[in-house]
Amino acid sequence: MFADFPFLSILTLLPLVGAAVVAFIPRSKAQLAKLVALGWSLVVLVLSVFMWAAFTIDGDRFQFRESYTWIPAWGANFTFAADGIALVMLMLIAILFPVVILASWNDVDQSTRSAPAYFALLLSFEFTMIGVFAAADVFLFYVFFEIMLIPMYFIIGSFGSGQKQYAAVKFFLYSLVGGLFMLASVIGLWVLGGHTFDFTELAKSTAAIDQNTARWLFLGFFVAFAIKAPFFPFHTWLPDSGGAAPAGAAALLVGVMDKVGTFGILRYCLSLFPEASRWFAPTAMILAVIGIIYAALLAVGQNDLKRLVSYTSIAHFGFIGIGIFAFTTQAGTGAVLYMVNHGLATGLLFIVVGMFVARRGSSLVSDFGGAGKLVPVLAGVLFFAGLASLALPGTAPFVSEFLVLIGTFSTNKGYAVVATIGIVLAAAYVLWMIQRTTQGTLNPALAELPAMSKDITLREKAVVAPLIVLLLVLGFYPKPVIDVINPAVQATMQDVGAKDPVPTVEAGGKVGG
């Protein structure tokens, strides 16, 4: 069904057209601009659902392949193709954008900035996000990897709060520096890989590159992705950006954009440079484990809600990191599933935090206190989002975290054990944050604010409902997603030359892990 439909190119271009349309709506008709933006993102969602239905699980690794000539002299083409990993990420994007657009409905109304511009930027950001996951041509991927900075830069810089200029510039420069390292590697890969950018052809030809050069090329890619993800020690831009960006945009920043880093490692580092990946894996594991513990400790100490969530996100990316570099199918599948679930859980957490911040006019934990007495339902949603974020069994993140840990344990016991401390710390920072904001005695300053007496609105219910439902459904029945991810991860692990540990038969005849 629909297998020949050019899903990926249309999905990529659709938001760009939408952004152009919204940008031309005059400022006085802000309501119209919002409706058009929401409608447009819903069309993208519907199309993505059709694409999901058209994906054959036992089919080729890359499906929906399309290729159009671009720069023949360089061998660069507009090639789109999606494997299972890209497909679930595209689905996550398609779900998160309408939710965020609805969540950001009134964000710009009080400021002097133009609302149509904000929603046009969100849609153009969706364009770059879909493009980066749909591209199967390294040149095209690089183009999307770089231009995604521009809409996010203006979203943070123009529509953010606090130290927004500083955060926007820091965000842009960090990412650009990573991108330029990658550019050097892309050029090297292109010259040594036979003047082609096609991913499948490159994956075949990179074996001929000599070991030392391949390691350098790998590092160029890895640094770019490690900054994007971000992994320790390249993470310092994220708390600033996450703290300054509007809550909805921050949800996209950590929910979707940072996944480009981990996705890039899986797709490009592992498949193109298998030997270098194995060589670097121990270092990557150490960085990831440090990231888990260090970011979690910093999160415990945060007084700013948005920065706190950003730090939790860095800790979670540590888990994804060990999942990827453990080189087992189980851990890899867990890592990809983690990418999806983290997008949902942290996205929800950021959006709910945004609802609190919008009411209170401050994102400091100390400015809240006992808020649950004023807005019980909203506080309940925050509690749920927090529990999902700390991977409580029954919520989706539990499945992925568990998969990552047991998958890692089978090959790297030490790292898995240390990483488990991160789970304990996660409980600490989430629960302590919830206790200080919504529980305890009511902060008198809070009660005086008329906005704080208004519990969750219908629009806000519509925003959080799909995410809560998805988190619960995937918590109890993650099979549909795992089925899509698993073949792609297996193919990646094959590329990297990793063999899953064979189950051993113990003396008692029982099969053990």
Partner: protein, 510 residues
Amino acid sequence: MEPLKLPPIDYAALLPMLILFGAACAGVLLEVLVPRRARNIAQLSLSLLAIVAALVAVIMERGTRTITIGGAVAVDGPTLFLQGSILVLGGVSMLLIGERSIERGGVFVSQAAVTVGSQKDMKQAGGQPGATEVYPLATFALGGMLLFVAANDLLTMFVALEVFSLPLYLLCALARRRRLLSQEAALKYFLLGSYASAFFLFGVAFIYGFAGGIQLSVVHDAVANPQRSQVLLYVGLGMVAIGLLFKAALAPFHVWTPDVYQGAPTPVTAFMAACTKVAAFGALLRVLYVAFEGVRWDFQPVLGSIAVLTMFTGAILAVTQTDLKRLLAYSSIANAGYLMVGVLALNDEGLSSTMFYLVAYGFSVLAAFAIISLVRDSDGEATHLSRWAGIGRKSPLLAGVFTLILLAFAGIPLTSGFTSKFAVFGAAFEGGQTWLVIFGVVTSMLLAFPYLRVVVLMWLSEPGESTPAVSIPGFLTSAVLALGLLVTVGLGVAPAPLIELTREAAQFVR
């Protein structure tokens, strides 16, 4: 003794240069014959017409690969491509030079002794639309540049160098406002330029001593099969290179650039940044690829170090600038470094990518200076960075265009800045110059910061009281902006046709 015989001359191949020099001479006559009131439009039309005619001649000759007038001029792929680029960029800068609607009387001084803004000045400015001798001067310069990239012997190259440099020295001094700055710039440019020319000529003498001839092919043969001391060759090559590197503004021969770019009238700055760069690199390519290819292992590391030094100088000093014209000057120095990376690839890719870069950069830089000429207050252009705060709120269209140009300079994909950088870095990697690619990438990171700072100022800062008004661009400036933007985005999104063209052209005749 045999009677002196005239060498065969291929007039068709020389036609573009003949047209321009003829038009420039006619322009001098027009200055005498045409009444003042009609002079501006007459001169502008004449020079534009000449440029279009020369461009047509270049296109008609596109298949020509020949050496003519006794080996003095080579018309080949690179010549024709570079001549075409110089003509197109020159035509666009001529539109900027011809702009008279932004400021009454234009940006050029009509009589140096009249105080700016005085009653007499106003009267004069209202009646006489500026100095019209700039058109023949610019046309002469263009003609010289066409010859410069076609010169096949070192003396012709020197003559061409002088032909296009002298009008530029003059043009730099003609700013109507901030005249002292402008005259200082012109003097500085003239003095340093003269030294550079002297070095060049001295170098030619050494090379003549080494090779026994000044034709590039003779030098090539002598390099391959040296008969005399190599010291002559190295000293000669070094001195010729100094002359060329000066024009191309490579460190450490770049010190004139910021002062001249700042002091010269903005249209002239744009003209120099776009066209002089093409001409200088065109000649550099020819000299290195045709004459001295045999000693590439000797000059590659030296010129490579110069490229690295240039990139770092341009990038680091651009960070500290507070004046936009100076910032763009340092950015153009850094870009000269990137161009040098392409040149040093010393393969066909290097040649074609450098030519691609020259065109792409030329259009972006023209648009950038066109924008600078629009942001002004009662004292003329407001080029101090602080004055641009919040300009995005006041005139989003202009700030949007400028942002795009700056992103192109920073090398963000989907702009010509990215494709051209990719092309030169790719060529250099292929040519075994990985170290240059790495330094190029590192300096690109540094250089992104000053551009980004301007973007931040324009969009994210609140407009202050001193944020100047933005002039409504006249028709000519609008045309320049539109063209610059179109090419910057066009070469970013669909660079394939121009890449093909540069590849077809990338073969020197010897």
